[in-house]
Subunit: 192 residues, 2 copies
DNA sequence: CCTACCGATCGGTAGG
DNA sequence: CCTACCGATCGGTAGG
C-alpha cells in the first residue's frame, strides 16, 4: 500500500512540473497562477501545495530537472575521446535535442530565472556557468587565437549561446530544418 | 502659459516611459506595479493615469519608441549606396548601439511582448518582421547560396538575431568589447 | 467651466 | 482532498 502511494506520489510530482512548465512558458511565472496549474492538473490548489511547499518550488523543479539534463550532456561529451571540435559539435547536437524536446522548460529557464529566491537562483546560475565554461573551453581549445583574449573568447561563447537559446522563438518542428541542422549551422559559424 | 504646460506634458510622458522601461526590465511587466512606477516618478498613481490610460499603454509606449528607432536604422541603411555586405555591417553596428543605449527598452521588447493587447501586439510584431526581412534580404543578397533555400536563409537570419538579442544578458559596457566589436564579430560569423 | 492633480478607496483576484 | 476563506495587493477610478 505504502509503495503504491509512493510511486503515485512521484508520478504526480512530475505531472505537476510538466503542466506548470507549459503554463509558465505560455504566460510567464507571474502570469500563471497556482489555480491555473491546479486546474491544468485536474486537482485543487490545496493538493498542489501537498506536493510542493510554494509556487517558487515548482518553478525550481521545472528549471532544475531541465538543467540537470544539459549537465548530463556535458558529462557525456567530457567522457569522449575526441578533439575539442568533435566534442563541441556533439555537445551542440545534444543541447539542441534537449532544447527542442523540452521547449517549455527551456523557455522557462531563460525567461523566469529572476523569479527564483536567492538560494535557488544561485544553484541554477552555478550550473549554467558550468555549461558555459565547458563550451568556452571547447571553443578556445579548438581555436588557439581565441585563447589569447579572454574577453573575446567569452564574447564568442555568449554569441554562440545567443544563437541556440533564441531558437525557442522561431524553431518550427514541422519545417525542413532539424535540431542537428541547427547545431551544425552554429558549429560552422563559430569554427569557420 | 498653455504652451509651457504642453511642453511639460510631453516631458512628463517621456519621463514616465523611461522609468517604466527600467522597472519592467528589472522585474517584468507583471512584476512591476503601477504604484512602483508612480513611486519611481515621484508622483501618484492618479497622475500616471492622467498621462496614460492604462498600464498596457505605458508598455506599448516603451516598445514603440524603441522599435521605431530600430526601423530608423533600417531606413538609414536602405538609403545607402553600397553592397549588401556593407549595408549589413552598418545595420548591425547601428542596432548594437541602440541595443546598448536603450538596454532596458530592448529587454522589455524581448521579454514582455506577449503582455500587450492583441491590437498593439500586432503592430509591434509587424515592425519586427520588417526588421527581420530587411536583415534577411541583406544576408541572402550577399550570399547567393542562401537564396536557394528559404528555410536555410530564415534559419541563418534568426541565428543572427539570436546573437545580438542575447547580448543584453552578458554585455558589459565597462569591458574591453564595444558595440562595434560585437557587430563586427556577428558580421564575420554570418558572412565568413 | 476647464485642466491638472491629490488622498482615499473601488471591485476583484493574487498566493497561501 | 475539498470548500471556504485570510491579509495584501492588484489595476484602475471615485469625489472634490
Amino acid at each position: 500500500m505504502a509503495r503504491t502511494q509512493a510511486a503515485d506520489y512521484e508520478e504526480r510530482r512530475e505531472a505537476i512540473v510538466e503542466r506548470a512548465a507549459e503554463l509558465f512558458a505560455a504566460r510567464g511565472f507571474l502570469g500563471a497562477s497556482v489555480s491555473d496549474i491546479a486546474k491544468a492538473c485536474n486537482t485543487s490548489k490545496s493538493l498542489l501545495y501537498h506536493y510542493y511547499p510554494s509556487k517558487e518550488d515548482v518553478l525550481y523543479a521545472v528549471m532544475a530537472s531541465h538543467i540537470d539534463k544539459l549537465l548530463g550532456d556535458v558529462e557525456t561529451v567530457q567522457a569522449m575521446d575526441a578533439t575539442p571540435q568533435e566534442m563541441l559539435r556533439k555537445l551542440l547536437r545534444l543541447f539542441m535535442h534537449h532544447y527542442v524536446g523540452a521547449a517549455s522548460r527551456q523557455k522557462v529557464l531563460l525567461n523566469d530565472l529572476d523569479n527564483l529566491p536567492d538560494d535557488k537562483h544561485r544553484i541554477i546560475v552555478g550550473k549554467q556557468r558550468q555549461i558555459v565554461d565547458m563550451v568556452q573551453s571547447l571553443l578556445t581549445g579548438g581555436d588557439p587565437a581565441l585563447a589569447k583574449s579572454r574577453a573575446q573568447a567569452r564574447a564568442k561563447t555568449m554569441l554562440l549561446f545567443g544563437m541556440i537559446n533564441w531558437t525557442g522563438n522561431w524553431y518550427d518542428a514541422s519545417g525542413p530544418i532539424k535540431p542537428d541542422d541547427i547545431a551544425d549551422m552554429v558549429y560552422d559559424m563559430v569554427t569557420g
